[in-house]
């Protein structure tokens, strides 16, 4: 089914409201990439994340747990003091490493592979979007 112009307009509105800057949709025979100009917001959110990330090793085998929905990142459940995962923690594939808060809902962010938590990249409260890196994991072996 072709993507209609009205769909694109609606998607752009959603992007703007949710604070997500990019969306890519790929379907057989067509692809769509929408980029919203969120320059100042990008700069603001990129700054605190940078110092937290240690220098990447020469060959980076790490895997990244990413958000798959737009919202605000929560490292811990609001009823918990402890975050879902902490640096150095051993986790399994499918472990919940954090939440994305969308309105009243909490969508889990899950580890794509078993390993050790290298770093929680995202900051609690940060606006995240589809594909935003949340946790870097050093996979087993």
């Amino acid at each position: 089914m072709p993507i209609k112009l009205t769909d694109i307009a609606r998607l752009a509105q959603i992007l703007e409201k949710s604070g997500v800057d990019t969306i890519e949709i790929e379907e057989p025979g067509q692809s769509l990439k929408l980029v919203v100009d969120t320059g100042p917001r990008m700069a603001a959110s990129a700054a605190p994340a940078a110092p937290a990330a240690p220098a990447a090793p020469a060959i980076d085998h790490s895997v990244i747990a990413k958000a798959d929905v737009a919202g605000h990142f929560l490292a811990a459940h609001p009823w918990r003091d402890q975050p879902f995962v902490a640096q150095g923690q051993r986790i399994e594939a499918g472990t919940t490493v954090g939440l994305v808060k969308i309105g009243l809902l909490y969508a889990p962010i899950v580890a794509p592979a078993a390993g050790t938590v290298d770093a929680v990249i995202a900051e609690t409260g940060a606006t995240v979007g589809y594909g935003t890196p949340i946790v870097r994991i050093r996979p087993l072996s």
């Binding site: 929905v69 919940t96 309105g103 009243l104 809902l105 969508a107």
Partner: protein, 327 residues
Amino acid sequence: MIEILSVTGPASVQDLGRFDQYRFGVGTSGAMDDVALRAGNILLGNDENAAGIEIPMLPFKLRFDRNMAFALTGADVEAEISGRVIPPWWRSRARTGDVLTIKAMPRGARLYLTVGGGIDVPMVLGSRSTQFRGEFGGWHGRPLQVGDILPCAASTATIGELGVEPAEITLARPNTAADETIVRVVIAGEYDGFDAATQALFWSSSWKITPQSNRYGYRLQGPAVKPKAPIEKRSHGIVPGVIQIPPNGQPIIQMRDAQTSGGYPKIATVIGADLWRVGQARLGSRLRFEQTAYTDALAAEAEMSAYLDRLRTNVRLVEETRICRSS
């Protein structure tokens, strides 16, 4: 089907309640925290009146005899299914043979387990709720026991992991201290039978919830609140939320399994929008009453409805997004 492997205290099957039989003296029963039961059912795409299990005490353990979606809402919970941790106010999936273990309830007093399609016990007098007093409804009209195998309705919904912001966070009340629940009340029929000093005592006291508190009613402990002169009334209709003052001056809040009539003087009534807060107040913790006007009680009701409306909309939106992405 689900099989109860371990149960303590009166866990029971409850839906929102039995509302059409009051004139025959049949009380409402129903979930003590109706907001939590609704939230669980909304998460699962169920009818909001679908029956779930109300769990007031631990340990509690059950096994799923087929693949199904379930949700835990209400009290905060430390729960595990096949080694996976389930956060509070959460829906997840169980596979055939999975065992769900409820290990702790760090806050709140009642946990609700809802399943995709609902617990499929027969409707009795228009509801699936267990009527403890009359011993009907729910599962054979009694609390659950080890070995009970509860039928679950079929559900076609395909469902991923998802959480909800607990109602206690969204509908937080100002000035709430830890271990004290503030509930809003409107004054009731015999309020004027108490002198001003006694009325003030009722409002200012921090009432302790005694261990003699359950689905029938909460018995509170504090300074004696007594009327100017003994009030003798014939039994008359009462509803869950009514606060009675028996001769010893220690208030009783009528709850979901209350009788439909009583004769003690009524000093006040907990508003409908705050009854769930009473249902989640723990034994030994404290309650304080805040006087509210009828119009504010209606506004609180509207606020609660707005929370549930938002929840329905949010769940529908996230579900649509996921379907779009996977198609």
